[in-house]
Amino acid sequence: MLEKEQNLIEEAQNGQEAAFGQLYDHYMPRIYRFIYLKIDNRAEAEDLAHETFLSAWKNIHSYKSQGFPFSSWLYQIARNKVIDRYRTHKANLSLEEMDEEALGVVASTAEYSLDTALSLEKVQKGLKALTHEQQDVLIMRFVEELSPKEIAEAIGKNEGAVRVIQHRALNALKKYFEEEHEV
């Protein structure tokens, strides 16, 4: 959680652009990453991340802190954007195209070795083998390090359900890697 986040939110709600700018700087990489891991398309991930923050900025007055961080609200918006995108626009990229792109982004942005990039690509492929809900939970929990309570708020489920989804997702991912290893 960002330091003095509540103050920044209140200032943003009073129309102070600089305050929302700080929130944007802090959360944009996370929201972008979350969307990117879900759709595997850099340009679309950028568009959806922008749309997410645009919706958040325009509707900043409707955000009410109820013991949940601002991030849960942002993830909720981002998640809805991704769902809308899946509804209106069937993915038209082939798996090979997506993989090439994914590998390219990871390698270019993080200055990782080729081995690490390949390993990340493998994880990304593994995530694709899961349901959307399982992907959401694993990304939020292990990539973004949100608490089960925060995830529950973002995906509209209770904490118990989040833990169950997490457990099943890890098992499914483990199974995927075991099968991949055998091949």
């Binding site: 943003a12 709600q13 129309g15 652009e17 929302f20 700018g21 944007y24 700087d25 944009m28 990489p29 972008y32 990453r33 990117y36 891991l37 850099r42 991930a45 950028e46 991340a49 922008h50 923050f53 645009l54 900025w57 325009k58 509707n59 900043i60 007055h61 409707s62 982004v105 990871v106 942005t109 993080a110 990782y112 690490t116 390993s119 990340l120 493998k122 994880v123 990304q124 694993l138 990304i139 292990f142 990539v143 890890l170 991912l173 483990k174 890697f177």
Partner: protein, 124 residues
Amino acid sequence: MKFNLESQLKQLKAIQPNAEFVQHSRKLLLLEKPVSRLRLNFFEQLKMSGALVLASLLLFVLAGSVSYLAGGKNKLANLKLNSAEADSPELNIRLQEMKYFEELNKEIEKIENAIENLTNKLQK
């Protein structure tokens, strides 16, 4: 394996948005203005008044139904009460009294007529 999976997932943090895109998106975003609080309040009030109207309507229908059902029961109760009253001995006594006094009045009337006739005859 679980630990490895988790640490592998953590590596995905390496994915970062393009710095140029972030800068451009930020600029564009902050050119926009948020929806005004007044407009939001108006819609909230509209929602609230809509909910109130609906609640009142439901209350009205509910009250109407209750009163209809309660009225029906009362009517039934009244009927039962009336039949119970009709069967009561007190009422029967009163009816008999009324009948008795009616007959008595008729007899008195007859006697009075007879006396009147007799008086008329005597005067003649």
